[in-house]
């Protein structure tokens, strides 16, 4: 292996007052040779900037845990063996680096062996344990100094304990003094000058300090970040860089919300709030030392050093107000205390809080009214597995009525100036309407707004709120200065909204511009896209029959294309049955799935070959004879709904669709009485669902019900297959869906599996093309007027649906201004898109509204009598 060296182009020696840069590297960043080569490169480049560099390192990954285990081990032999294994890890890395054992590291290994042999007897349990654990950083830094120096970057090893002096707070016990010590880090010109006199590059340890007695103490969790911050403050560094595995803080936990965006700029208080309400990338306490000396902190991704990462610094004023992040903390227990006794009673609260202290429970959020005070407890093992809550409740019950509410989750919106953003949050807050909100808290520092809700809702709630925050303009994701790429663009499946969508191709764009010149507004449908989507579905072998839900788009050319692709058809009204009958051959199966259909509708449906679906008791109760001798399908409401908007959710008691499960027995009894055979079960929970697992759950619920009924031959698990619309949304994973469906089918092979997608097949195939008529400025707002609006496409007004909007004439020009794209209809809701960043428009430009193939033309209306919007079909 070639030894890594850097050739510094003989940089000029640094002045005594050259600025400092502190760089911190965590456990995985120091565990292998390639990672050290990376550190070498980065440190050299910072030195080349003309700065002194202090590298702060953690222990090699896994070593701190190993040392902790060693210090909990009672047996001397086992301790020695553990120390031996730890030494071996470092020797192996040293061998990878082709280095001989440096004296500094050798001394550390010997120390550790001595400590392991001696055990805690001499120095006391805590101090000994701290001394043992400190060795992780002592060894990694010694190893690093040798590597960097040998590679051509002379690096001095600094013992952090000579620089960081811990102080003890009066309320700290011995354990926290030794294992969670604190340092009062103030700018220290003497230290800076002393180090400057010794060299240009330094390496030291995170996590450790010394106390007043000169003993080694530890800085607790997040200790290395904290060390770096202490050094940054003491050296008044140009900046502190913490190098880790993610590019920074995100607008939400990326595991919950893959579309979460990188936060590029935060002030200290916002960052601290985000870190303490959920983000794991930074320990909240490492920010406060930097605030006073105004040293910025950068979070950088070791694997993507080119990314700007997150810069945390003093507050800046130039940005528009925006919510920065949404976070959720689970496992929260609320204690609600009710008493008239507290009203104007001196000392009542003091007495109450004394009980929490007595039972060792730490209080986080507090909300109070005249006769109620509610507090939250953070999850701890003590809370979960001791009787602390029961004992607390017993004591509190003596002075007030107490109720323990759990499990809860705190959902927090973070952003500076939260109170002045409330007006933008109305659609976001409306989301809480159907939830049990136990507590709302808004701190006086005006940085957060916290809702405590039932824990079981947060996994779906948080992604939904994140999306709502963006669509409501409360989280200004369009502001590229503040918000970087999404997590999934950086680390996930990639930014999915396709550059390859058909209308972006040069030839298609030209064709569309030509069509626009002939007249707008026009819907244009691209049949190859319909076929492509159809084939993607047909490739899933677990589904026995695919139906196209024709309500999405009844254009005959689309119906014909789907006949050719082997689809059956699902209709919801006699009119749709007629439209399909005109185009579709007799041999193609049909489903008739109406909702609140009249007796006459059913009579017409029964006169066709369609399989008729009932979704209520009434038709069977009152018109049962209509169905005598027939085989029908039954649509059930499984009791919950999914989808991006209340109006597209079709499950749950709040929805008018489906027979509730508690009426199933009665339905079956009536069916039996009328000689009706229930052949199929059907459930459809909503639209725009992008997670594959959902259909497996629906299938398994339907199948277990079908097993009880006996006569069932097919299960129709509906449609609702989502099509991503916002930039950054992940498309439905077809391979995963296929796997889920195969698994479902394998568990219940005796039922045919049916599905009935609509929008999935046609949404992307259709676009609405329009002309720019004019622009208007109004205060800070800019409006871009086009020649059609909600009369052609009502989805944005009806569902807050997001359609991509581009200026097709200027497709290659960068977006400059933020526009409200509006139509000519006399309704204030006639907005096709809000806050769209578009190039400067000219009258006559062609504006394209994407994903208009589904629920576009079919939902259009004559409102304002602006005439029919024409439809054009592109066969190839």
């Amino acid at each position: 292996m070639a030894r890594s060296t850097v050739t510094l182009n003989a940089p000029a020696p640094l002045a005594a007052d050259a600025p400092w840069i502190v760089m911190k590297f965590g456990g995985t960043s120091v565990a292998t040779l390639p990672r050290w080569q990376n550190i070498l490169k980065l440190a050299a480049s910072r030195r080349a900037e003309g700065a002194r560099v202090l590298v702060v390192v953690s222990a090699l990954s896994g070593i701190t845990d190993a040392l902790k285990q060693l210090s909990a081990e009672g047996d001397e032999g086992k301790r020695k063996a553990a120390a031996g294994a730890i030494a071996q890890r470092h020797q192996t890395l040293l061998a990878d680096m082709q280095l001989d054992m440096p004296e500094t590291l050798g001394a550390r290994l010997a120390d550790l062996a001595k400590l392991a042999a001696a055990g805690p007897a001499q120095s006391g349990e805590l101090a000994w344990s701290a001394a043992v654990q400190a060795h992780g950083e002592l060894m990694s830094s010694a190893l690093g100094a040798a590597f960097l120096t040998h590679a051509g970057l002379p690096t001095r090893w600094v013992d952090a304990r000579e620089c960081l002096a811990a102080f003890a707070l009066p309320n700290q016990n011995e354990r926290t003094r030794v294992l969670s010590a604190m340092v009062d880090a103030k700018p220290d010109p003497v230290l800076a000058a002393r180090l400057a006199g010794q060299g240009e590059l330094f390496i030291t340890q995170g996590f450790i300090a010394r106390d007043a007695e000169g003993r080694t103490v530890l800085l607790g969790r997040g200790g290395s970040d904290t060390s770096a911050a202490y050094f940054g403050a003491m050296l008044r560094a140009l900046r502190v860089e913490t190098w880790t595995d993610v590019a920074g803080m995100f607008t939400a936990n990326p595991r919950q919300v893959p579309t979460a965006r990188l936060l590029q700029k935060l002030d200290y208080e916002e960052a601290q709030e985000i870190a303490s309400t959920g983000a794991k990338v930074l320990h909240p306490r490492c920010l406060s030392p930097l605030r006073e000396p105004r040293v910025p902190l950068l979070i950088k991704d070791t694997n993507h050093p080119e990314l700007e990462g997150t810069v945390i610094g003093p507050q800046v004023r130039e940005h528009a107000r925006s919510v920065k992040a949404i976070s959720a903390r689970k496992g929260i227990t609320l204690v609600s205390m009710e008493s008239v006794g507290m009203w104007q009673q001196v000392g009542f609260l003091a007495d109450v809080f004394a009980q929490f202290k007595k039972h060792g429970l730490s209080v986080d959020l507090i909300s109070s009214a005249e006769t109620n005070i509610t507090v939250s407890l953070d999850p701890t093992e003590n809370l979960l597995d001791s009787d602390a809550v029961a004992a607390l409740a017993s004591d509190l019950a003596k002075v007030c009525r107490v109720k323990v509410i759990a499990p809860c989750a705190a959902v927090t919106l973070v952003g500076r100036g939260m109170r002045s953003m409330l007006h933008t949050l109305s659609t976001v807050l409306a989301e809480f309407d159907q939830l049990r909100v136990h507590l709302i808290s808004q701190s006086s520092n005006n940085l957060n707004l916290t809702f405590v809700v039932d824990e079981d809702v947060v996994d779906t709630l948080v992604p939904h709120l994140h999306e709502l925050l963006i669509s409501a303009g409360a989280l200004r994701a369009d502001d590229n200065a503040l918000f970087g790429p999404s997590w999934q663009a950086l680390y996930g499946a990639g930014e999915p909204v396709s550059a390859t969508v058909w209308w972006r191709h040069v030839a298609e764009r030209a064709r569309l511009l030509k069509l626009a010149a002939q007249g707008t507004p026009r819907y244009v449908y691209h049949l190859p896209t319909v076929r492509h989507q159809a084939r993607a579905l047909k490739a899933m072998s677990a589904v026995d029959r695919w139906h196209y839900a024709v309500k999405a788009n009844t254009h005959p050319a689309i119906l014909r294309a789907l006949v050719e692709e082997g689809f059956a058809f699902e209709c919801v009204s006699p009119g749709e049955l007629d439209a399909v009958a005109k185009v579709v051959p007799e041999s193609v199966p049909l489903l008739f799935t109406p909702n609140f259909a009249s007796r006459g509708d059913f009579e017409r449906g029964l006169a066709t070959r369609a399989t008729v679906t009932l979704d209520a008791l009434h038709p069977m109760e009152h018109w049962g004879e209509l169905f005598r001798g027939r085989e029908i399908s039954l649509r059930l409401d499984l009791g919950r709904g999914l989808g991006h908007h209340e109006k597209v959710r079709t499950g749950g008691a709040g929805s008018k669709f489906g027979l509730p499960l508690d009426q199933l027995d009665e339905f079956l009894r009536l069916a039996d009485a009328h000689g009706v055979t229930v052949r199929g079960l059907h459930a459809h929970l909503g639209s725009g669902i992008l997670g594959a697992r959902h259909w497996g759950e629906v299938h398994s619920q339907l199948a277990s019900i079908a097993d009880r009924i006996g006569s069932i031959a097919f299960l129709d698990i509906g449609g609702g297959l989502g099509v991503p619309s916002h930039p950054g949304e992940t498309p439905l994973d077809m391979a995963e869906l296929d796997a889920v469906l195969r698994q479902a089918k394998a568990a219940y092979p005796h039922y045919q599996l049916w599905m009935e997608p609509g929008r999935f097949l046609v949404a992307d195939a259709g676009v609405l093309i329009t002309h720019v008529t004019q622009t208007k400025g109004k205060g800070a707002w800019r409006y871009l007027g086009v020649d059609t609006g909600m009369n052609s496409l009502i989805r944005p007004a009806l569902y807050d649906a997001w359609h991509e909007i581009v200026n097709l004439t200027r497709l290659d020009q960068p977006g400059t201004g933020l526009f409200q794209v509006v139509g000519p209809i006399c309704e204030s809701g006639d907005i096709l898109g809000s806050d769209r960043r578009l190039p400067e428009p000219q009258e006559g430009d062609v504006v394209l509204i994407a994903q208009a193939g589904a629920y576009g033309k079919v939902m259009s209306s004559p409102y304002n009598l602006r005439g029919e919007t024409e439809e054009v079909v592109l066969e190839d």
Binding site: V389, S704, A713
Partner: protein, 451 residues
């Protein structure tokens, strides 16, 4: 493909039971219809030693007879026919009882009366009972098959056997991710026996077969008896508790018990039958028989490592996942009962973290909990403890400040409690084991580990 109208059939016929290469084939027919063939797959089956052959054949024959209940119930024809001849009185009695009582809920739901209808052919010669007869002992290895179901009971049984150093294998029938996960969590060797119902049964269902609950524990017991002889186990330890013996309701003079084949009477009869016809040293019993549901949940409350894997939920039984809502629907009687029964024995935050929500603070669940308490309604048809146990647990919670203000506990306190005598609501009597059980002497220590 058969075109039989199942409800119009006249005869249910037991055709044959064969075994080869780890697969047992059980064949049945209605009238002269095509055979319905069920297959039971025993994984990695060892070859059968000649000295166990007779015992194996006897166990397989019984399995054939017992498993027939799934098919018989499709048509409930008036006549039962056995291709290989009539049964001895002992066996015929067992099956008559199993079909009558095991299908009692099925009959109730379908408005059928099975009394006098179920008569297994019995040989005239064997009308005298072979009271006390013993099959030869086979010197079976001292190890135990513990059927596990993913719920708390079998896990309590597993840990009790572990506690006395017993050698055990976690066994289950059919595919279930939930059970596989629980089995893995026990750390025991596992045995997953495959069971494939005759595919024609689904066709019969489509043609209007009768449908409903069958005594599945009896079928699984018979499968495990075959497995015990095949692999060599001297004991089968189920985890059926005391209240499984209680009738769910009485209807037209007949006791209807949803879990009859989990009851003490069937346990005793089946165990005795195995001793008499299969092997004198094959013990079949329920380790949890002396205990109430509450005593078992108290024992389970000590088994923290299982909290994140087990589920007794009926609705979600095909699903597993990391989130509580993946394992507990929160809507079915099982969820309600297990929640209520565990509550007195676990710190509240821990219990809520298992279920992911607080079922007792959800007013919409009032009807479900009322049914458990037998308030206004009869006991729901689920394998749950007696109403009195539920009331004792609810009363205990109503006396605890951390629970007493929760919606359904407060409702109990204000509405239901005044109608009850507090004297009958104590929790402690439920925690005392009963003397009556069929647990062999060498497992007595395990009983102590539970109680």
């Amino acid at each position: 493909m058969t075109t039989t109208q199942p409800r119009l059939t006249q005869t249910f016929r037991f055709l044959h039971a064969r075994y080869a290469d780890g697969v047992a084939e059980l064949a049945y027919a209605f009238d002269d219809g095509a055979p319905l063939i069920e297959r039971i797959r025993f994984p990695d089956a060892p070859s059968l030693s000649p000295e166990r052959r007779a015992a194996f054949d006897a166990a397989l024959k019984l399995l054939h007879l017992v498993a027939g209940v799934s098919y018989y119930k499709a048509g409930v024809p008036p006549k039962i026919e056995l291709l290989d001849g009539a049964l001895d009185a002992d066996t015929a009695d067992l099956l008559d009882a199993l079909y009558l009582h095991g299908l009692a809920e099925f009959a109730y739901r379908n408005h059928l009366d099975l009394r006098g209808r179920i008569q297994f052919p019995r040989a005239a010669s064997s009308s005298t009972r072979s009271e006390g007869a013993r099959a030869p002992a086979l010197d079976l290895p001292a190890r135990t098959l513990v059927p596990i179901g993913g719920g708390k009971d079998s896990l309590v049984a597993v840990e009790a056997i572990k506690a006395i150093g017993g050698e055990a294998t976690a066994a289950w029938v059919g595919h279930s991710d939930l059970i596989a996960t629980c089995a893995a969590a026990t750390g025991l060797p596992t045995l997953n026996i495959g069971r494939e119902l005759a595919p024609e049964l689904f066709e019969l269902n489509r043609l209007g077969a009768w449908n409903g609950h069958i005594p599945v524990t009896a079928v699984n017991s018979a499968i495990l008896a075959v497995a015990a002889i095949l692999y060599g186990y001297d004991s089968i330890a189920f985890a059926n508790e005391r209240s499984a013996s209680a009738a769910t309701l009485e209807y037209d003079g007949q006791q209807v018990n949803h879990q009859w084949s989990k009851g003490s009477a069937y346990e005793q009869r089946f165990g005795a039958w195995l001793h008499a016809h299969v092997a004198a040293d094959l013990d079949y019993f329920s380790l949890l028989r002396p205990f109430s549901e509450l005593a078992i949940t108290r024992a389970f409350a000590r088994l923290t490592p299982y909290f994140d894997v087990f589920s007794s939920c009926n609705r979600n039984f095909k699903l597993i996942g990391p989130k509580p809502a993946d394992r507990w629907c929160g809507q079915c009687p099982k969820c309600h009962f297990v929640f209520l029964a565990l509550a007195p024995f676990l710190p509240k935050p821990r219990l809520l973290s298992i279920f992911g929500r607080n079922l007792l603070d959800d007013e919409t669940l009032a009807d479900g909990f009322d049914a458990l308490l037998e308030y206004h309604e009869h006991k729901p048809f689920e394998c749950v403890g007696e109403g009195a146990e539920a009331r004792a647990a609810m009363y205990a919670l109503s006396q605890r400040p951390e629970w007493s203000e929760d919606a359904l506990v407060a409702r109990f306190r204000e509405t239901i409690l005044p109608q009850l005598g507090v004297a009958q609501l104590a929790l402690e009597p439920w925690l005392e084991p009963a003397a009556e059980h069929h647990v062999p002497a060498r497992f007595q220590g395990a009983l102590k580990a539970i109680g």
